[in-house]
Structure formats: structure tokens, C-alpha cells
């Protein structure tokens, strides 16, 4: 099992010299002036985790070429995209933050068709990450786990299981995280994200934060991995200029120790 983190360019020197991290997920392309990039590229397995688009609409040639180019640059073993629909079709409104689609037949058909089209153009397997919903939209027609299962069955793509996302949804539904997790199609999981959560003033509750995972989150990770037979990597999911090297390395160490 690989244990890694996100590439945070402001921690480039520390990451280039580190020996305890197996892989780095790349949320942004390397900046032109990033002097640590050559060492990072040579040293690490790199996972493409950039924002390519939203699969509620077909990705255009430009986005697909970008994905292909970055996957080639990183020699990424798989390419990640999100179950998200965050801007309106006409481009007028944009949340600039991950936001899930309605869990309906129409959106399922859209995501299946567009993921299959993207998959056909990539040289690497496609994995898709679950996105947390803070509230339910009454227009949804099925629970998220059912929708995801049908998506994975129809596309054969891998599942990037974001555990804090599941944990938060369980929290806001008043469910035990383990019970909510059991509903998800875990047999498709390729990679697992782990992160910390903190109280948010606007949400009046916990949300994802660039902080270390708690003991409870690590226990949840261990529990999840016993149910994910195909998981190949665990990634500490924190990408922020405010993330410190201490938090990043300590988090990776704690994840490794918990496994």
C-alpha cells in the first residue's frame, strides 16, 4: 500500500528531501519557476488530480488534451476526476468549490456517457472521487451510494474514496460513519483520501481542513481499508498554502503507523 500526500509547492524543498512518502498527488501543474519540480518528478510516483472539468457535460478536446498531457508528464498510474457539477451550463454561476450533482437517472446517464468518453481517450485508468453534500436536494431520485454503484458498474472506472467526505455526510445525517460507508461500492476503490476536519463558523459544524487526521479518522480509515480489497494508495488530502511541513509529515507518519 502506497502512502502519500499532495504536492504543496511551498513545501517543495522538504518534500524533495523526504524519504517517508511514496507518492504525491498533483492538484496543479508545476509552476514554471518551481526549482524543486525536477527532484519531485524524479523522486516520486505522481498522481494526476487536477481539475479537468465536470462530467455532467462532455469534456472538450482542450480539457482532454490537458489531461493526457499532464498524465504523460507525471507518468501517473491513474487519472482522478470528481463527481461534481459546480457551474451552471451557461457559465454564469460558478461555485469554485466541489459540489455534487443531483443523484438522478439523467445525471447518471450524463456522467456515465462522459466518463466513458474521457476514459476512451486516456492511456491510464480513470478513477472518480466522491464529493460531500452538506444538504440533500429533494430532486435527487436515489441515495448517493446507489448512484455511485450504478456509475461504477456501467463504466468500469475506479473509485477514489474520500473518507472525510463520507465521514462528514454521516455526521450531517446523524449516522455512524461505518454504517454510511457500508452502503458505498467499496470493491471499486483504488485510492483512499484521508484528512482532518475542523469546526467551520459558517457551517456551524465540521468540514474538511488542512489539518492532521484525528485518531477517530484514522480508525475509520483502518476500518474502511479492510473493506477495500483493491486499494493501492492512501493519500493525506491537504493542499493549502497554510499547510505546514510538520502537519504534512506527521499526518503521513500517523497514517502509515495506523495501517
Amino acid at each position: 500500500m502506497m502512502v502519500g500526500a499532495f504536492y504543496n509547492p511551498h513545501l517543495g524543498a522538504e518534500l524533495a528531501a523526504a524519504s517517508t512518502i511514496d507518492h504525491l498527488a498533483m492538484a496543479d501543474p508545476p509552476a514554471a519557476g518551481d526549482r524543486h519540480w525536477p527532484a519531485i518528478k524524479q523522486r516520486y510516483t505522481l498522481l494526476l488530480h487536477d481539475y479537468l472539468g465536470q462530467l455532467s457535460e462532455p469534456l472538450d478536446d482542450r480539457a482532454i488534451e490537458r489531461a493526457r498531457s499532464l498524465a504523460g508528464l507525471y507518468d501517473s498510474p491513474w487519472v482522478a476526476e470528481h463527481f461534481q457539477c459546480l457551474h451552471t451550463e451557461d457559465g454564469t454561476y460558478n461555485l469554485n468549490y466541489v459540489f455534487p450533482p443531483l443523484y438522478t437517472e439523467e445525471f447518471l446517464a450524463r456522467f456515465v456517457a462522459n466518463a466513458n468518453a474521457l476514459k476512451a481517450r486516456l492511456d491510464q485508468p480513470l478513477v472518480m472521487e466522491n464529493i460531500p453534500g452538506f444538504f440533500d436536494v429533494r430532486a435527487s431520485q436515489m441515495p448517493e451510494p446507489i448512484w455511485l454503484r450504478r456509475f461504477f458498474d456501467a463504466t468500469g472506472t475506479g473509485f477514489l474514496l474520500d473518507l472525510p467526505h463520507v465521514w462528514l455526510e454521516a455526521h450531517y445525517r446523524g449516522l455512524a460513519p461505518q454504517a454510511w460507508l457500508a452502503e458505498f461500492p467499496l470493491e471499486h476503490v483504488v485510492e483512499v483520501h484521508v484528512a482532518g476536519v475542523e469546526q467551520d463558523r459558517d457551517l456551524e459544524g465540521p468540514w474538511i481542513a488542512p489539518t492532521a487526521p484525528s485518531d477517530a479518522m484514522l480508525d475509520f480509515m483502518v476500518h474502511a481499508l479492510t473493506r477495500c480489497p483493491g486499494a493501492k494508495a492512501v493519500t493525506f488530502d491537504a493542499f493549502s498554502p497554510s499547510l505546514t511541513a510538520d502537519v504534512l509529515f506527521a499526518s503521513v507518519d500517523r497514517i502509515r503507523a495506523a495501517l
Binding site: Q84, T88, G91, N94, F135
Partner: protein, 239 residues
Amino acid sequence: MNDRALQDEVIRALADAPYRASAEWRSRRLADAGQVERFARFLARHFYHERIVHFFKYSRALARVTARWPVAVLRQPGFDALLATAVLGDRATARAVARLVMAYVAGEEVPYHGDLLRYQEAMMVVEAGPRVWSDTGHGDDRPAVAPPELVEGTTLLELEYDLPTVLPQLLQPWTTPPDAPRRKTRLLVARSRHGRVAVARASDAIVRWCASPTARARWTTWHARPVFVPATSRLRCAT
């Protein structure tokens, strides 16, 4: 209404505070109003946090001497008051947020501070507005010699100082803030259909042309000239 249109309604409600308060949205009863409001406020703070960090990075660099960090405004009453009318990505909201930042970080630590704030405000305001997310035709990939096109929101800045000479230095290590030559400088700030902001020095020809957008003078398009600031505004969609 199909499901994609319904999703757009939800996205709009989260992005557009006046719409969120409207009878039209509330009558749809698509989601719990309290939860939607809390998430919308969370999104707004995140949305403008990213933009303030990106566009006011020079003020952030100057905070070493001013001790006034631009993102601090996000936790001040002025921003909270703005949330009731904010529309994410709207030019008027971008201007209102930028003005909050400018009022907070303004000072006389460097003589070109006023120019610097106007420059950063222009970047943030120009970036706002609807954008094209998917290329179905030609856009930014047009040939380098394509005729110029005046994009909505394009701004011409008349500055007292030659800011382009000092901007890169501000982001480097320094003990005393770098100086900028006092020299009248005109900058053109514009964005692509995809929301990428670019800045170029504005020649007299460009200024004349901007004032007369129907003209089709045969000079090299400013699109093709080297942009002196890597001002891309591809802001990350955080997970």
C-alpha cells in the same frame, strides 16, 4: 424543467444571495433553507478567499511591513454585511470585496501603494463575469495575428508609477520594500473567454483603439505581445 436545469437552480441559489432570498427560489422547496444559507456563506468566504490571495498577493507581500493581511477582511463585519447581496463571480460583488480589501490595507508604507491597490482591484474586477467552460468553437487558441477584440470588462489603468518593474521584486525576499520608478504608465487589463486575466502595457494606438472599439486598425494585436505579468487566474476548485 430537466435535471440539469434544476441543478443550475441549486447552483444559482448558492451563488446568488438575492435569488436565494427570492420567492421564486423559496417556492421551489428544493432544500432546507437554513442549510443552503450556511453553505452559501461558506462558499462565498472560500470564493473570495481564493481571489484575495491570488489578486492581492502584492499587498500580502507588503504585509511584512504593514501588518495588514488582505484576507483578514473576510472575518470583518464589512464582509459579513456584503454576504446578503453577494453574487459569486459578479463584477459588482468583486468590486465591493476589492474595495473592502483596499480600505483595510491602504497605507503610505510605499509611495506607489495607491497605484498598487488600483492595479490589484482591476485584476480582481476584470476576472469576474460569466465565462466559457467548454470549447466548442475557437477562442483563446486563435492565431497570434488575429484582429484585436475588445472584451467586456477590459480596463485601462493610468498609473503614476511604473508598477511592472517592481511587481516581481515585491514577491522576492526583501528587507525594505523595493522602489518603483515614478513614470506615467498605462496598463491594459483584460481577460479571455475562459477567465484568464492578462496585463499589457498600453500604447497610444491601443488606447485610441479601445476608445473606438469598432475601429479595425492594422496593428499587431495586444493578445500576441508578451504579457509582463504571469497573471493567469485559473483558480483552483478545492476539495
